[in-house]
Symmetry: C2
Subunit: 220 residues, 2 copies
């Protein structure tokens, strides 16, 4: 069951969604009111069309109701984003994702009946900020308010030690689920293999447990 | 060893970095040429100042060289972003992160000597696109070109089965590293506990192994 996608607004965010979905073999209709943008995605998307998404008739004409998931990635023009969202919810599109510019915009979209509102710049800022705090933290994925997955460079104190001797699970309550060495990733790391300098650990656990682990073994 | 951060450009991305670093107790100097923006972050950041970052003297005056990490999150005005990056690299700032608008901008920043260039909209678009392809895929973290961590809703075929009986590691080569049930997350999931409807699995593995697993057990 392959889904049909329409992406409205081919800025950096919408354009990236269009490209990634197309790369994965999905059929994407790329829509923008700017002809130059549409031309950029002509050879990437399955279909592309120049169209003002606030024009309900134009959307109906291209059969927007046949799409399983419509993504609205109109940015600065909040009014156009909201108007487009109203049209799409009125047409009972199955799944609508809309990019919000701020909390006010988010609130209105929710009120209209859009169920999936995203804040790409805000979420990515939050993610990156975590990795900035320590040079050792490379990646960060929030699983919930309390739990995360982090990618950290093995601390000096860990080099030459095995996972058994470090006993991270018992001592800190978090788990090392994978180890990256150069371009290799081991998702079933052996308990008796000593860690090397530059090894990158992927850790899952409660935030306070990960913090304890980092303070003890990662930060100098 | 607490680092001092300066964030130049308080749009959605820069503003989010400023807020998250401040929330984590870091000292952040918030900079924007727009006074209204600076006022928004006055009570969030440790310090804030209205300043045109392309003005080298102004940057020196506020002691920009004392900061450990300077983040440039100027958007649309690519020229201002590049000029600011040149000033900061000339001043030998230890760590400089710059948001790029496109590949051309990225290339120039690299040529100037900026080592950390980020594309928040593009990266978040890519991440979200993955979660759009299947309603069951909730989160996606790329570990490398070949390996990922994904968060998926347990498929109908998995409900009532234990991890032992599913034997995901042997059959598909990927590992279930955590299970979310409601607001609970178990990062050491027991092998003999049956999965419930709505359980969310966090899986690590090679992309092709995760794909095989998803096709067999997640997608209907
Ligand atoms: N009414 C509309 N119908 C169709 N496309 C539109 C409409 N209004 C704006 N767009 C398009 O949406 C795209 C994204 O808008 P804009 O560049 O303002 O957003 P942005 O938030 O800066 O995006 P990003 O940060 O993802 O680059 C633009 O290419 C623009 O032409
Ligand atoms: N020369 C400069 N010095 C200081 N701040 C600047 C300068 N030029 C632009 N800025 C500020 O940078 C901020 C971000 O710029 P802009 O809104 O164009 O980026 P954007 O890509 O749309 O951001 P985002 O998508 O993160 O919201 C703005 O608040 C703007 O005032
Ligand atoms: Ca724009
Ligand atoms: Ca943006
Ligand atoms: Ca998330
Ligand atoms: Ca802007």
């Amino acid at each position: 069951m392959k889904k049909d996608f329409a992406v409205i607004g081919l800025g950096r965010f919408g354009g990236s969604i269009c490209k990634e979905l197309s790369d994965k073999g999905m059929h994407v209709l790329a829509i923008d009111s700017d002809e130059a943008k549409v031309n950029e995605y002509k050879n990437i998307a399955y279909h592309s069309v120049v169209l003002d998404a606030t024009d309900e008739d134009a959307l109906k004409e291209i059969g927007i109701t046949n799409f399983d998931h419509v993504i609205v990635a109109i940015g600065e023009n909040i009014q156009a984003s909201i108007l487009t969202a109203v049209i799409l919810t009125d047409l009972d599109i199955k799944r609508i994702t809309v990019k919000a510019q701020n909390d006010y915009h988010d609130k209105i979209l929710n009120r209209i009946g859009v169920h999936h509102v995203v804040h790409p710049e805000r979420d990515m800022g939050k993610r990156l900020a975590h990795s900035f705090i320590s040079n050792n933290i490379l990646e960060y994925l929030e699983l919930s308010n309390e739990y995360s997955i982090v990618e950290v460079i093995a601390g000096r104190k860990m080099i030459g030690k095995t996972l058994i001797s470090l006993d991270v699970r018992a001592k800190f309550g978090c788990n090392i689920v994978a180890i990256k060495s150069g371009s290799e990733i081991d998702v079933s790391p052996e308990a008796d293999k000593p860690l090397k300098e530059g090894d990158i650990l992927i850790i899952i656990g409660a935030d306070h447990d990960i913090n304890r682990f980092e303070k003890a073994l990662i930060f100098d």
